[in-house]
């Protein structure tokens, strides 16, 4: 019985961790679908969200106002990012673009480092209460919030894409830009919106995970790697895949750390990634695609 409770405990924290990966992975997938390019600064969106909170609260802004403030900052940053990092290279192949996003990632991390210093910053939790215990499993409120917000974000995204005109336009843009342009969809604006949306998603993930991981310069990179692994495991460019992949990765990591080794915690995710690439490179939900001649 005791061990069951422990396992459930590990499962719970794995799912919470996994939702963070899933949130960032969602941002990844959106940009992949809109531009066919992986944004290597996606994790740094989360980092920036965390630091925006630190900045606002440092300036005396109350927590509940700092959150919308930070998200507005993220939205604006998404616009700037699109304009500065993606837009000038939009007609080139994917390699210059991903290298450019890598450059952006280094730039963001070191600019933040310059202003905030290398010391990780603590961040308050959304609710002050520690948590609740059900059947021997202690549920941290922050983890519950993470799970809840992720669920809401996923539901919102589903609604947006499947049931609104904006969502249809976004889908059309991601599937065939030339055709979308011909039927009058403002493709550039749709892509800009995608970057804004992804930046905000990243910001939310950063704000949520800050109390658990602390706000640090490097927090984004490691989250991004896991999130990308999640998209590959789930199926490249697949929304459901990103969520399932993220959760799976969080759980594997959590159990791996508990039963095998804590220092190598990060290696389990990559190991899972390698296994998938070898045995099922198209991921759980992905279809085998071949290039059209």
């Amino acid at each position: 019985m005791e061990s069951l409770a422990i396992n459930l405990q590990v499962l719970f924290s794995g799912l919470a961790l996994g939702s963070i990966y899933a949130l960032v992975a969602l941002g990844f997938v959106l940009i992949i679908r809109a531009t066919n390019v992986v944004n290597f600064a996606q994790g740094d969106f989360a980092m920036l969200g965390g630091f925006a909170m630190v900045a606002f609260m440092g300036a005396g802004v109350p927590y509940w106002l700092a959150i919308p403030g930070a998200l507005v900052v993220m939205a604006l940053f998404g616009l700037v990012f699109n304009r500065g990092v993606y837009y000038p290279l939009r007609h080139r192949s994917y390699l210059p673009v991903i290298i450019s996003t890598l450059g952006a990632s280094i730039f963001m991390q070191n600019t933040v480092l310059y202003f905030f210093g290398p010391q990780p910053k603590p961040m308050r939790r959304v609710f002050e209460t520690a948590g609740i215990e059900i059947g021997g499993v202690f549920m941290d409120t922050q983890y519950l919030v993470i799970l809840g917000v992720t669920a809401i974000a996923v539901a919102f995204q589903y609604f947006l894409f499947e049931h609104t005109l904006l969502g249809k336009k976004l889908q059309a843009t991601s599937q065939d830009k030339d055709m979308a342009r011909l039927v009058g969809i403002p493709v550039a604006a749709m892509i800009a919106f995608t970057f804004v949306y992804s930046a905000v998603l990243g910001g939310i993930a950063g704000i949520l995970v800050s109390p658990v991981l602390f706000v640090s310069i490097g927090m984004g990179s490691i989250i991004a790697l896991k999130a990308f692994s999640a998209t590959v495991i789930g199926g490249f460019g697949d929304v459901t895949g990103a969520i399932v992949g993220g959760l799976l990765l969080g759980v594997v990591e959590s159990f791996g750390a508990h039963y095998i080794s804590v220092p190598y915690k990060d290696a389990f995710a990559f190991l899972l990634l390698f296994i998938f690439l070898l045995l099922r490179p198209q991921g759980i939900f992905g279809e085998k695609v071949s290039e059209k001649a």
């Binding site: 080139r92 290298i99 730039f107 070191n110 490691i222 692994s229 490249f236 220092p263 290039e291």
Partner: protein
């Protein structure tokens, strides 16, 4: 999704001009030997402080790793974000090998190169199949795992403290402990590396790498084993990194995991891009600049790395060919393509086999389904040797899909494809090209940043092509093919500078250079004007006159009636008619498929 060439090639890039190397070989080699001697001797005669010598040593060892990046990123167009890991494998092999295991330096160096190459090869074989973004992320993950292991597996790697007291070797009785002597040795190695990387693009493998970078799909149907080519590039790149790392370890006597982290990989990447990823000299130039830059940019202090990140974006946007590309551009613009002596080119030999009643190609109930869509739904047909066989049908009838199943780009969902009686249903595109199946594409797929001649040489170097694999033989074969289509006078032009109609002809020449037994043409007349169409018709007739078997898709019915012996008509993935042109085109089902059903008797 149109996959175009990777890191955009420089306009009129140096690598795309093989003749430059041929024209003044003595002069060039002499120049580089002189330059190399000068660079090598300078540190010996100039009174340099040991600080400066250290910086030079760092630059020389890094540059060897960057040369690897030139091969994998610049030539083969594959991203590698773990170069510091391969560099670190070489360094740790020397560090742990000499200090802990008491190995001889040179043996440890060989082990280091071997380890790095093996790691690169294994990583490449598992992930290069996927390419692109996967490769970027996998290499980052590999880099992270390496970091974790180096820091945490302290019993073996000595953990974060690193390895100290690495000694410099002796060579033929000469002690290389002195900074100058050791630097000289590093420079000699670097110089050999530069020469190798400079020479590589003109070899078969180098050409194959660039073809893969420019258009992977076209490379594969032209006979390039794309996976093997990419793995070779990756392995070479990691071996060079291992070599650089091994030299670095003994040069600086101390190594720790910090020297080989992700930031260092990004540094190698930036050096490559800054200097110009497609040239060995560019890579070395970029390395020198980025190592000296911190010295010059001290005033930037804390924001140095931020500026660095910004520089990466700016290079990608404004300097896709790097500094070397910028330096070369004015010379390239002035350079006139060498004139080609058209009369000296031998006529194209087709080497068509003696008449054989056996059909050259047989499709047996071939199917290709995409999810629920039955694009090709049980097509059977035979193509007789030495004939022109046309495949027609309305848009969406499955013509191009059939062609893709034939050339191996798609694997058939069901049925069999027999070529010369051999079942090739499961063969990869390059294997089929190696058996003598050539093809062109509806939306032309050439290697844009390579010269016309090089494009066709890639076709000539297909496996089993019955000519010598020697460079001169390939060149002659390519020129003959170009002469046949009337493009020999354009041999030295870059393909991307040719007009559309000429690009079509070059694509046909590329296929012809490989002695195809069976030529697949996907809408060769698409986008051509009336004159060009007429010329194409003449070309096809000449090809038929040489006994070549041609299987073509075309919408231009007049052209088809002129050139084809037999027509197969498809609709909705099924064969609806077949026969001689007059017969097939007048078949009521064919008329209905093209023009719709007549409305209730009123025709």
């Amino acid at each position: 999704m149109n996959k175009t060439y990777a890191v955009d090639a420089a306009p009129l890039n140096g690598q795309a001009a093989p003749h430059a190397a041929r024209r003044r070989p003595v002069l060039r080699v002499a120049f580089f030997v002189a330059l190399g001697l000068l660079v090598a001797v300078l540190p010996l005669v100039l009174p340099l402080s040991s600080y400066v010598l250290n910086i030079l040593m760092q630059a020389a060892t890094y540059a060897v790793a960057v040369l690897g990046m030139t091969v994998v990123l610049g030539y083969a167009g594959q991203i590698n974000l773990a170069q510091a890991t391969f560099f670190g494998l070489g360094a740790y092999a020397v560090g742990l090998g000499t200090v802990v295991a008491g190995m001889n330096f040179w043996l440890a160096l060989a082990v280091g190169i071997g380890l790095a190459a093996a790691a690169g090869c294994v990583l490449g074989m598992t992930t290069l199949r996927l390419g692109g973004h996967y490769l970027a992320m996998i290499t980052i993950s590999f880099q992270q795992i390496f970091d974790l292991v180096m820091v945490n597996w302290a019993e073996v790697t000595q953990g974060p403290d690193g390895v100290a007291g690495i000694e410099r070797p002796s060579l033929f009785g000469w002690q290389l402990t002195d900074d100058r002597a050791y630097l000289l040795m590093c420079l000699a190695v670097l110089y050999a590396g530069i020469f190798f990387v400079w020479w590589l693009p003109q070899t078969r493998t180098g050409r194959a790498m660039r073809a893969v970078r420019e258009n992977e799909l076209a490379a594969s149907v032209t006979g390039v084993n794309t996976l093997r080519t990419k793995v070779i590039a990756f392995t070479l790149s990691s071996a060079l990194a291992g070599l650089g790392g091994a030299l670095y370890a003994a040069g600086f006597a101390y190594i720790s995991p910090d020297n080989f982290n992700f930031a260092r990989s990004i540094e190698f990447l930036t050096m490559t891009l800054l200097g110009g990823s497609q040239s060995a000299f560019g890579g070395v130039l970029g390395t020198g600049l980025l190592i000296l830059l911190p010295e010059w940019l001290r005033f930037l202090k804390d924001i140095y790395l931020a500026v660095y990140g910004l520089a990466v974006i700016l290079i990608m946007v404004f300097m896709p060919a790097g500094i070397w590309g910028l330096l070369r551009a004015p010379f390239e613009r002035r350079r006139k393509p060498a004139p080609v002596d058209l009369d000296a080119i031998a006529p194209l030999d087709f080497g068509v086999r003696a008449a054989n009643p056996e059909p050259i190609l047989r499709l047996e109930a071939v199917q290709k389904h995409f999810g629920g869509v039955k694009a090709v739904d049980g097509i059977s047909l035979e193509v007789a040797r030495g004939t022109v066989h046309a495949l027609i049908g309305p848009n969406g009838s499955g013509k191009t899909t059939t062609l893709n199943v034939l050339s191996g780009i798609y694997r058939a969902t069901g049925g069999r494809v027999l070529f010369n009686g051999n079942d090739i249903t499961q063969h990869a595109p390059h294997e089929r090209a190696g058996m003598g199946i050539g093809r062109t594409f509806q939306n032309i797929r050439l290697f844009p940043a390579m010269s016309v001649l090089e494009n066709v040489m890639v076709g000539a170097q297909r496996p089993n092509n019955p000519i010598s694999g020697h460079r001169e033989a390939l060149r002659e074969r390519a020129l003959s093919a170009l002469k046949f289509v009337g493009m020999a006078d354009r041999a030295e032009f870059l393909v991307k500078n040719l007009p559309y109609g000429h690009q079509r002809l070059v694509e046909i020449a590329r296929a012809l250079a490989g002695h195809p037994e069976f030529l697949l043409l996907d809408e060769p007349a698409a986008g051509l004007n009336q004159t060009e169409k007429k010329e194409l018709g003449e070309l096809l007739k000449r090809l038929r006159g040489h006994g070549l078997t041609i299987f073509l898709i075309e919408h231009d019915i007049a052209l088809i009636e002129q050139v084809s012996d037999r027509i197969t008509v498809l609709n909705f993935g099924k064969k609806i008619a077949e026969g001689a042109p007059a017969e097939a085109l007048r078949h009521p089902d064919v008329i209905a498929a093209y023009l719709g059903e007549p409305a209730h008797g009123a025709a």
